[in-house]
Symmetry: C2
Subunit: 357 residues, 2 copies
DNA sequence: GTGAAAGCGCTAACAG
DNA sequence: CTGTTAGCGCTTTCAC
């Protein structure tokens, strides 16, 4: 076994990569201030000195201790991401976008998955994680959808917690946020379904305290109204935003005396669940029932038939969320505002269309 | 605007959640040592004092500053995860397992996605991230598959970097590792395909420097040998472990003068890509070509036909990876060893079987 | 049972 | 251009 000696010559096997600035200083025969300056690229140091220092830095693979640095600088170069379910492709793709932007700016991220704390309500979990991250380990936090209310955000605002949020317009509270025009998206999808001649349109929704979900039903209603269809309250079922939930919701829809001939799902996971249920029930998609989803996750192209859905620019959302968080933190003078993105319909096969060869 | 005052009364708006132990001490009329003891549950403090302190802790939502704590204690209660692609369901599910275990023990994790640094080779990216994480911000690191070689691991071992690795047996180097018996898994899948009467079995592989991939072809060969089938070198194609790569690989396989009548893919993403290609080429699965994958990601149940595959216990793998990393860090006296898990065949439809109702 | 004080590794005045 | 030093917020002896 090999012990990596610290400045005091003691064993440091309990601490990974253990040299300190002091060791380098001693080796290079300079002061710790000089080492710090070299490592932080302060131009003032003499080229000769810099090289002498760098020699030992390289030789020992030295890295500045982050805790000490952060303690001093009060800047972590790390952001937190709070999401409800890492397994959802939607979140994964948004996170991908966040991480890509973050990597470009040499930021790191800590991801908190709200599904990991059981017997706690979702909003409590969020508060828990926010509090946790606010121990100085993060410069700001991105919320990928939220169950928190405006009162919560108001409190965080007052406490100077830096937030960037997806799914709720927080302009009034003073946080940067991104929303997708779900009314329009849902409208497009349902309208398309109606365009195929369907008049009995089911709606599988998910539940959220505030935000997108609320709006998607508005789009559904708008399309229905446009086609002069009377809304059937039995046709709206909760699918919990999950595959399993969508499966159950679809089954209950089909168990109705007069089942729908088309179903719009508020996200793709539920649409995928519906298609799975249909397959097991030997209901043909789209011949017997047409289906449309929302999000456009990767899986939509892998099913048979391929899923018609409404596309959200997920990576783009991630990048924007990150950039706006950083601007907010740096207070770039950018007026805090909500950015509303417009989704687009992606026509594939589950609606009844035939894709060109 | 409301400023949260620090101990010096100065504005601290630049720093989230900014009270210090000193503020609490002042408010409660005790020393900082006492506050520290209360917050760390040192039994010695008087009940009266504890409550006095806790009152202000609660009132101000106080949280100990992590950087200072870590700097002092040299224990971050954070682990790093290095993965190649967060979008891969396989990784997402393993990470889910890691996070679940981590949350139970109040550990946090930092995820590094190797796909984010462009124009760098995968192994360089890994080294880069490991070095980055070894700045004292992490107690140990989990590698979800790796392109590093034994020499690298040897170096890390000597430097006391704490690692727990999936996909390579590192017992000899002295790191805890988990492998899945891919030889057996691949053997099961290919044997099943042969059992359906297929004799021209294609193999879509991915590329890795060391580890699983290498073994999967061995299982493929074993099954072939068992059925007295001569291996056709044209039947082995690289699918890069991705959906797109699988799609291309499948197309090139079908373009062969004598194309295979069954294809085994070394992971599900490539199998999914193959099914997508088949659909576009109007090749029926499983009637024209049977397909089997590896991993058993969620999507396997959503395709039509459903994908027959080899199951890896992903969440379990994640939990084990985490637990073993912690044992290694704490040096629980547990002998460092490799744990080899046995995968199982999950028969669905893409192989030609019919699922019971 | 509690407080005073040293020191973790680093950065940033300030002095030279 | 370089070195000395204070101090970031915390834990932990060591006195009392």
């Amino acid at each position: 076994m090999f012990f990596y000696p610290g400045s005091d010559g003691y064993q440091r096997s309990f601490y990974t990569m253990s040299n300190t600035i002091k060791d380098i200083a001693r080796m290079a025969g300079v002061s710790i201030a000089t080492v710090s300056r070299v490592l932080n690229n302060h131009a003032i140091v003499h080229e000769k000195t810099r090289e002498k220092v760098m020699k030992y830095v390289r030789e020992t693979d030295f890295v500045l201790n982050q805790s000490a640095k952060v303690l001093k600088e009060r800047k972590t170069h790390t952001i937190g991401i709070i999401a409800s379910n890492l397994l959802s492709s939607f979140n994964a793709e948004v996170i991908k976008g966040i991480e890509a932007s973050a990597a470009e700016r040499e930021y790191r991220s800590i991801i908190c998955d709200c599904d990991n704390i059981h017997n706690k309500l979702r909003d409590e979990q969020e508060r828990h994680y926010i509090k946790l991250l606010c121990d100085g380990s993060v410069d700001g936090i991105i919320l990928l959808h939220t169950h928190l209310g405006l009162d919560d955000f108001d409190r965080y605002r007052k406490r100077n917690v830096n937030l960037s949020v997806l799914g709720v317009n927080l302009e009034k509270v003073g946080f940067p946020s991104i929303t997708v025009d779900s009314v329009h998206g849902a409208y497009l999808a349902v309208k398309h379904l109606c365009g195929h001649g369907h008049r009995k349109i089911g709606f599988i929704f998910g539940h959220q305290r505030i935000g997108a979900e609320f709006h998607r039903i508005a789009g559904y209603r708008r399309a229905l109204a446009e086609f002069g269809i009377k809304e059937n309250p039995l046709y709206a079922v909760d699918g919990e935003f999950s595959i399993k939930g969508g499966e159950n919701a679809f089954r209950s829809l089909m168990a109705l005396p007069d089942p729908p001939d088309a179903v719009f799902c508020a996200n793709d996971d539920m649409a995928l669940g519906s298609m799975k249920a249909a397959k097991l029930m030997k209901i043909r998609i789209p011949e017997d029932v047409a289906i449309a989803g929302f999000d456009d996750i990767i899986t939509c192209e892998l099913t048979n038939p391929m899923l018609t859905t409404v596309r959200q620019p997920k990576e783009e959302i991630g990048r924007l969320l990150f950039e706006r968080l950083i601007s907010y933190i740096d207070d770039d003078g950018i007026r805090v505002s909500n950015l509303s993105l417009t989704p687009e319909l992606v026509v594939r096969e589950s609606c009844g269309c035939t894709l060109p060869e």
